[in-house]
């Protein structure tokens, strides 16, 4: 992948926009070569390859903003689309906060986002990896009778940005992933589980053996699950489920939601929301992090931001527009069209997950949830869940078909234990944690 070619496309798009009457503009270009292998049983079920490109252009005319996204890089195509976006901007209300950032990054820090081994590797090795993962899950347990496929995916890409203030920069990145979905059968009950790993560098991926083991454990461990009674008990969220809660916390600290009146954290800046154990950090500069980049979608330098410190809400996360609107400074979280996380996480504790479970007399350990919250305004959490009932510090028996519900504010305030199992395998991650008391609805 050629950084300078991507930068050139971005620069030309900015020039076209200014030629079409935009006062200022900014173009982001990404070009990615992707591969996806799916193995199922002993065969390759899918082999997919592509080179995809996209241009995201923002134009500003007298404080009026419009956005263009296109995969048509032909000069006629770009010209027509840009002219249309500029015309659309005329219908948008003038907004004093809209515009390019005041300052963009001047030095490109090296964040180890690119692993040349990802692109150099032979396709046949990648195919073999998916086949081996598929074999491993089927060998791991006699109850694994089927699968929804084992996958290897990777991407080799460049991202470039240019704006009409003369900013141009680009960087290369890679990503690779392994995932699988064993289906286990016990009597007439089928259970499917999903597990995977992803990283910028091949060496940071979990081993095939470890991925297979965790996936199979998730598929078979819940056999014989009962529906629990309705009760209020401590709830431990395993790290994947905990990460989904952090996704919602991210939404609530996103400046866009705060400004739109769509966050339960509105008006709580500088107040204590979480327990002492709640340290939440967004770190765009994490080495080799999946959410890392030298600059954000507007060219603003990324940074490490402490969002919650010992439970105290210190700041929201902003791009340039919402920072101006809310009287703050951009935290380098622009995605070019919105506000996005950069390795947003809850800081790990010092005890293991086993110790956390061991210190719980009676409670629920949640390993999987289904459903998603929609009520960001009121801050209500509610999910279907599966997991285990904890008795005397041990996993007594599996449970499913229940829901857990509560207010995010109460949940963060109720966190009384955090494990040390944090892994940066996505852009929003969390260690496992325990909430002192929540409503579990079953029978």
């Amino acid at each position: 992948m050629d950084e300078s070619a991507a930068i050139e496309v971005a620069r030309e798009a900015v020039e076209t926009a200014c030629g079409c009457g935009a006062e200022s503009s900014e173009a982001s270009v990404s070009i990615a070569r992707r591969l996806h292998v799916e193995a199922r049983d002993s065969a390759v079920a899918r082999l997919e390859g592509s080179t995809g490109k996209s241009l995201l252009l923002r134009v500003f005319c007298d404080g009026r903003k419009a956005t263009l996204s296109t995969s048509d890089f032909s000069s006629d195509g770009i010209h027509e689309a840009v002219a249309r976006a500029v015309a659309q901007a005329e219908l948008v209300a003038a907004d004093e906060f809209a515009g390019l950032p005041d300052e963009t990054t001047t030095e490109l820090v090296e964040l180890e986002l690119c692993d040349s081994a990802v692109g150099d590797r032979e396709s046949v090795e990648k195919v073999d990896e998916a086949l081996k993962l598929e074999r491993l899950i089927r060998e791991a347990d006699a109850r694994v009778v089927n699968s929804s496929g084992s996958h290897y995916t990777d991407a080799v890409a460049v991202t470039a940005l240019a704006n009409s203030n003369g900013f141009t920069a680009g960087f290369s990145w890679t990503r690779a992933g392994r995932s699988t979905a064993p289906v286990a059968l016990d009597g007439t009950v089928k259970r499917i589980a999903h597990y995977g790993t992803a990283a910028r560098h091949l060496r940071d991926l979990e081993t095939l053996e470890s991925v297979a083991k965790t996936a199979v454990r998730r598929a078979v461990d819940l056999f014989g699950a009962r529906k629990p009674a309705t009760m209020r008990v401590p709830v431990i969220f395993e790290r994947d489920v905990a990460a989904a809660i952090l996704d919602d916390v991210f939404a609530a600290v996103s400046g866009a939601n705060v400004a739109a009146g769509n966050s339960w954290l509105s008006g709580r800046l500088g107040t204590r929301v979480g327990s002492e154990l709640v340290d939440v950090i967004d770190d765009g500069r994490l080495r080799a992090g999946l959410g890392s980049a030298p600059f954000d979608g507007e060219g603003v330098p990324t940074r490490r931001t402490t969002v919650f410190e010992h439970g105290m809400l210190r700041t929201f996360l902003y791009d340039t527009y919402y920072a101006r609107k809310l009287g703050a400074t951009s935290t380098g979280n622009s995605t070019g069209g919105g506000i996005g996380p950069s390795n947003f996480h809850l800081a790990p504790g010092s005890i293991s997950l086993d110790e956390l479970i061991g210190s719980t007399q009676r409670g629920v350990f949640v390993v999987d949830t289904i459903g998603f919250a929609t009520e960001h305004a009121s801050g209500t959490y509610s999910r279907g869940a599966r997991g285990f009932f904890i008795e005397g510090g041990e996993l007594a028996y599996p449970i499913d078909e229940f829901t857990i519900a509560g207010q995010y504010a109460e949940m963060l305030a109720g966190i009384d234990g955090v494990a040390n199992d944090l892994r940066f395998d996505a852009s929003v991650v969390s260690p496992s944690f325990r909430v002192a008391e929540m409503t579990v609805s079953g029978n």
């Binding site: 080179t51 089928k190 499917i192 739109a260 459903g371 229940f402 409503t439 609805s441």
Partner: protein
């Protein structure tokens, strides 16, 4: 834009190492959108998706490559990449393909691409905003968006079939937040379909905004949802999300061919109460999920999925139909040229039964009345589902009493369908704004339902006891 000679050449190239069939999917999509926030047009955007996806199928294996570079070299390179799968599983032969253009019947009008005066979009959004704000002084925020898109597709297959389709899609969505300083409640209503923005002359922004504001104020006044097992009444229209999640996904043929769905191998068996009949239909005028032809070039169809409680059939795409020895049901869909097709739902609904809604409510001792759902999800192997209730009420001793907020319903698909004890005479399709996600691909769908009563379900709320 994509001629037969080019597509024919690409298919020949894709089959250079063999393969049972190949297809080429070309797409051009243009999408305009406007978003209103804080009482004014906050941003506008224009999107273009343009590219070609090439697929080769050998047995259970599929090779796929796509290109957004339309130069001949890039397209031939993509055909070469797709052809590699045939090396991992050799078989079949390749013949030169002669393409024949096949006309398709139209269930929606493939309107000319003459964009309306952009001021009309802005006016629709402003009318929605004004209506919601006048509805109640407690309305504190209104967000509205309007999307108008046209997707054009050209599909060629190695059997020589060549079809084109133009698929319009408009959506107007209104989200309203009401607040009394202490609590907040929100309501969302969206509508549109495979038509033009003239649709909103009938279903006006005033209607949609009033409904969204009404739901927001109901939710503001609502009590926390109860927790535990109780009866459930599912509201007509939007309640159809229940069918989509609890049954529909489990009847998609990929899961069944692979044996990962709990409905695998059960055609002809009783899977629901005998009151339950479920259709999936790609031929309903204006509906979001309708398709003149699917993304594999097969015409949209009316499918009987469940009839009087008995499982009748799956939704098939070409690859899975071929392996299961049946015909495609026109259910092969994809998000864009970047994705290979999957079997998907179109518009899934249950026809009317015989009960009056009043009778259903009167027969309910203690339950929750879910008038609409804000979303749902299913796990297809065991069939467990969850739904978030968008607008819900308690029913006590045959009467609708207090509104409840943030209820989550959890259950098991076949179990809930067995527990259907009453089906209303008021079946209708929901307002059109649903999008379904599967394997990372999002496609527009429709749902519909009469008022239905389920004898027991678990409600997950925060009020224990």
């Amino acid at each position: 834009m994509f001629d037969e000679a080019l597509l024919s050449r690409l298919i020949g190239r894709a089959l250079q190492h063999g393969g049972e069939f190949a297809d080429v999917f070309c797409e051009r999509r243009k999408s305009l959108s406007y978003r209103l926030q804080d009482g004014r047009i906050h941003d506008a955007s224009y999107g273009v998706t343009l590219g070609v996806g090439i697929r080769v199928v050998v047995g259970e294996s599929g090779g796929y490559a796509c290109s957004d570079d339309l130069s001949l070299d890039a397209l031939l390179h993509a055909a070469d990449a797709a052809s590699l799968i045939a090396r991992t599983a050799p078989g079949g032969q390749s013949d030169a393909v002669e393409l024949r253009a096949v006309p398709v019947a139209a269930v929606y009008e493939s309107q000319a691409d003459n964009a309306p005066d952009p001021k009309r979009y802005v006016a629709l959004l402003e009318r929605a905003d004004g209506t919601a704000r006048r509805y109640d002084p407690k309305v504190v925020a209104v967000n509205a968006h309007l999307i108008d898109e046209m997707q054009e597709v050209w599909i060629a297959t190695s059997e020589g079939r060549f079809v084109c389709d133009r698929r319009p899609l408009v959506t107007l969505g209104v989200q309203v937040v009401a607040s009394d300083k202490k609590e907040r409640g929100s309501g969302y209503v969206g509508d549109g379909g495979r038509t033009s923005i003239a649709y909103f002359d009938r279903e006006t922004p005033e209607l949609l905004a009033t409904e969204a504001a009404r739901i927001a104020t109901v939710n503001l006044a609502a009590s926390p949802a109860p927790a535990g097992e109780m009866e459930m009444i599912v509201g007509a229209g939007g309640g159809g999300v229940l069918l989509h999640e609890a049954v529909g996904h489990g009847l998609e043929s990929d899961f069944n061919r692979r044996g990962t769905s709990l409905y695998s191998g059960r055609i002809g068996e009783r899977v629901a109460s005998e009151l339950v009949t479920i259709y999936d239909d790609g031929n309903l005028a204006e509906e979001r999920g309708s398709l003149n032809v699917d993304d594999e070039g097969v015409p949209g169809q009316h499918k009987v999925l469940v009839e009087n409680g008995v499982l009748r059939g799956y939704m098939q795409d070409r690859l899975n139909a071929r392996l299961m020895g049946v015909e495609s049901t026109g259910s092969g869909r994809r998000q864009s040229f970047r994705f290979s097709p999957q079997p998907r739902m179109c518009n899934t609904y249950m026809p009317s039964g015989v009960w009056d809604v009043d009778e259903i409510v009167a027969s309910t001792k203690r339950g929750i009345y879910a008038k609409s759902f804000a979303g749902g999800q299913v796990e297809i192997s065991k069939g467990d589902f969850v739904f978030m209730v968008g607008e819900g009420y308690l029913v006590e001793n045959g009467k609708i009493t207090t509104p409840v907020r943030n209820a989550t319903i959890i259950g098991n698909g076949p179990d809930a369908m067995m527990k259907v004890v009453a089906v209303g005479n008021d079946s209708r399709l929901a307002r059109r704004h649903y999008t379904c996600g599967k394997g990372g691909q999002y496609v527009p769908v429709g749902v519909g339902m009469p008022t239905v009563k389920i004898s027991s379900i678990t409600v997950g709320g925060t009020q224990h006891g």
